[in-house]
């Protein structure tokens, strides 16, 4: 499906089944989800959901309208432009043999990542940033051997 990347952020009732309504809407109507983040906000009655989707312009209009139609969606916005910040986080388990360890540390340093676990033959790296940055560090570490990778979806806010 052709389409641009869109970041949707919404405040929803923090109730059982709400996530299922949103995910079900996407699958039932044939929209796609690239990534999804859900967590409680400062107000425990409200959660924030961030969805990244690829959609054409009539499609994204329909996605927004359909989401807004859900009774549990309180507020919905499409996040884009210089007035917004977007971040992802990745935990990267990379093979770190002698001879490569300092190279990995340099890369981590450049990307302002953190080593959060060290073993004789591995590091676990924590890194946050926008989608491009995360993709870039993963690509740089790939030759060393990424054994495991856990990524969050995008979270975003307007300034």
């Amino acid at each position: 499906m052709a389409g641009e990347r869109h970041v949707l952020t919404m405040l929803v009732d923090n109730k059982p089944g709400v996530l299922s309504r949103i995910v079900g809407l996407f699958s039932g109507r044939g929209f796609n989800i690239d990534s999804l983040c859900v967590a409680e906000t400062v107000d425990p009655l409200i959660s924030r959901i961030t969805v990244v989707t690829k959609a054409s312009s009539p499609e994204i209009e329909q996605i927004e309208k359909q989401l807004n139609k859900l009774i549990n969606v309180i507020k919905l916005r499409t996040i884009a432009g210089p007035n917004s910040v977007q971040r992802e986080m990745a935990l990267i388990y990379v093979i770190a043999k002698n001879g490569q360890r300092s190279e990995i540390l340099r890369i981590v340093d450049i990307f302002r990542g953190k080593i959060i676990d060290v073993g004789p033959e591995h590091f676990i790296i924590e890194v946050t940033g926008n989608e491009e940055k995360i993709t870039a560090i993963i690509n740089l570490l790939k030759p060393m051997g990424i054994k495991k990778l856990a990524k969050t979806g995008t979270v975003a806010l307007f300034r």
Partner: protein, 568 residues
């Protein structure tokens, strides 16, 4: 209202009864079972009328028919597990047609939820995509508010079915009860009032247009906007077509009436939409059966689209002037605006257009030839004449539905009750039961086929038990006629499994149920049978043995432009 601070102690079931009374519910369609036994026990102590159906699908369709005939929210009550799953088709149909329903389902006790208990099913999960909203009540304290919300959501905005799943222990538990205040949901605020600037644009387009058409749908019926629609059309001399769901929203006896649009629409309606320069669409959602190929739908027109549901707008058709608002309110505002503007010379402006439409109408009117074997169209035609067009018609789905739509001419809303969006066979009989319960003095006729009537024929027992004088007209061609028609036209007459070579003797079946059974096998028997059936105060099944391979025309092949019709 006087302040009442004294709290009553009630069971969940008792609270439910209080809310039902508060919502003005006087009739429920349902079927008891273990998980709702406490609710039924409480129900028996109230004045609420309960109609015991024979299958839960029937309960939902009946509530649907009731809601449409009465113009209020329909309510049904069923048990957990299979009781709940049997409602799904009915709920999906009501959802597609935006019918306000509250479906109350029993659930296993809260401590058993998730244990695969006896008659447990996750009905909230199952019905999530086919309800406007749904709830599982997990705490007694939430019950009253949840029920109030359910009724509010069902009837407000674009109406729809709302399901409330009530565990057995919640129905049993006693708690203090106070009637909740007015419902206020921060995340749900339907837009009723139209944007005035958009209306000005419409007014300007109307005054400029040489070839305008109004296309109205179920939204006009639901918002009770028919009078305003008629006012608009007459004031501006704009011809009107409707979707299947909109039949009755504009009087079929009016000279501006074009007939229905779409796959089986009239020649003049489809041609007019194809040629118009302005299409005013009101309370419609541009279903594929209406538009045919979308890129050649109303290709020369500026399209105005008025609907209360923003998702309906620009879903399939791009529009020039979108208006989100209640159809009746929007039409009312528009009419007021137009009344203040000078409409001088508007009729002269339209004359050429109206003449063109008349030409189309005369060149290819709806027609059939009644010869040796009963034509289904003749049955509907005669039914229309004998009931003076005043009956409430429900339908099943397929050819029977289309012939009813084409040959019964509706002058007022709430008289044509059909499963439009979902196209659900087995709808007509229970819907007729619901409509008859809503309107005891009216003639209610279910136009059926021999296939679809068998999908919920058990509801004959319901009709007879409550002495409901519902009339069932079976257009019996021993085929699943609409599919057979497609096979004839597009599959080289390979009638793959559409022949219903064995059916019960509907006359004797009717008698077995305690209804009156009549049959017509020759054209000259049609009117006497209809007369006898309509005159009876019993539930009547009329079996018309019709031309087997009659087809519905005009027909637009699926995916073709609606102006490319197969004619008789």
């Amino acid at each position: 209202m006087k302040e009442n601070n004294e709290q009553k102690i009630l069971t969940g079931a008792g609270i439910l009864m209080e809310i039902l009374k508060d919502e003005g519910v006087d009739t429920i369609f349902g079927y008891p079972g273990g998980a709702v036994i406490d609710i039924y026990d409480e129900l028996s102590k109230t004045d609420i009328r309960h109609i015991l159906v024979r299958h839960e699908q029937g309960a939902v369709h009946a509530a649907d028919g009731y809601a449409r005939a009465k113009g209020k929210t329909g309510v049904c009550l069923v048990t957990s597990g299979p009781g709940a799953t049997n409602t799904v088709t009915g709920i999906a149909s009501a959802y597609m047609d935006s019918i306000p329903l509250v479906i109350l389902t029993g659930q296993v006790p809260t401590h058993l939820i998730g244990n695969d208990a006896f008659q447990e099913v996750d009905i909230v999960g199952i019905t999530r995509p086919c309800t406007k909203h749904n709830y599982l009540v997990k705490r007694s304290e939430e019950l009253a508010e949840t029920l109030k919300e359910a009724f509010y959501i069902a009837r407000s905005g674009r109406p729809g079915p709302v399901l409330v799943d009530i565990p057995k222990d919640i129905a049993k538990a006693e708690i203090p009860f106070t009637m909740p205040g007015e419902v206020n949901l921060r995340s749900y605020k339907p837009t009723y009032n139209p944007n005035q600037k958009q209306l000005q644009k419409i007014a300007a387009l109307i005054s400029e247009s040489k070839r305008p058409v109004i296309f109205a749908g179920g939204g006009v019926v639901l918002s009770k906007g028919s009078a305003e629609l008629t006012r608009l059309a007459r004031k501006t001399t704009i011809p009107v077509t409707t979707a299947l769901m909109g039949l009755g929203a504009f009087p079929a006896s009016d000279p501006l009436w074009l007939g229905m649009i779409g796959m089986h629409g009239t020649f003049q309606a489809n041609m007019s939409v194809g040629a118009c320069d302005l299409l005013i669409a009101i309370g419609v959602r541009f279903d594929d059966r209406v538009t045919g190929r979308t890129d050649s739908f109303a290709p020369n027109a500026k399209i105005v689209h008025i609907d209360i549901d923003p998702t309906s707008i620009r879903k399939t058709i791009s529009v020039s002037v979108p208006v989100v608002g209640d159809c009746r309110l929007t039409l009312e505002n528009l009419n007021q605006m137009l009344e203040q503007t000078d409409s001088g010379g508007i009729y002269e402006k339209r004359e050429k257009w109206l003449n063109q439409i008349r030409e189309w109408k005369n060149s290819n009117p709806l027609s059939y030839q009644q010869a040796g074997i009963i034509k289904p169209q003749y049955v509907i035609d005669s039914l229309f004449t004998l009931t003076k067009g005043e009956a409430i018609i429900t339908t099943e789905v397929g050819q029977n539905q289309m012939w009813a739509a084409q040959y019964y001419h509706f002058d007022s809303p709430g008289h044509f009750i059909t499963s439009g969006g979902l196209g659900c066979m087995g709808f007509g009989l229970p819907a007729a039961i619901g409509a008859q319960v809503a309107c005891p003095g009216k003639t209610v006729v279910d136009v059926a086929g021999d296939g679809s009537i068998q999908m919920n024929i058990q509801e004959l027992a319901t009709a007879v038990q409550y002495s409901l004088p519902v009339k069932i007209v079976i257009l019996n061609n021993r085929y699943l006629g609409m599919v057979r028609q497609w096979q004839e036209l597009f599959y080289e007459k390979r009638y793959s499994f559409t022949a219903m070579d064995h059916a019960p003797d509907f006359v004797r079946l009717a008698e077995a149920y305690g209804a009156l059974g009549l049959r017509a096998t020759k054209p000259e028997e049609v009117i006497p049978v209809l007369k006898e059936g309509l005159a009876s105060d019993k539930t009547v099944v009329m079996d018309f043995i019709v031309e087997r391979e009659e087809s519905v025309y005009p027909m637009v092949p699926a995916g073709a432009p609606i102006t490319e019709m197969l004619l008789v």
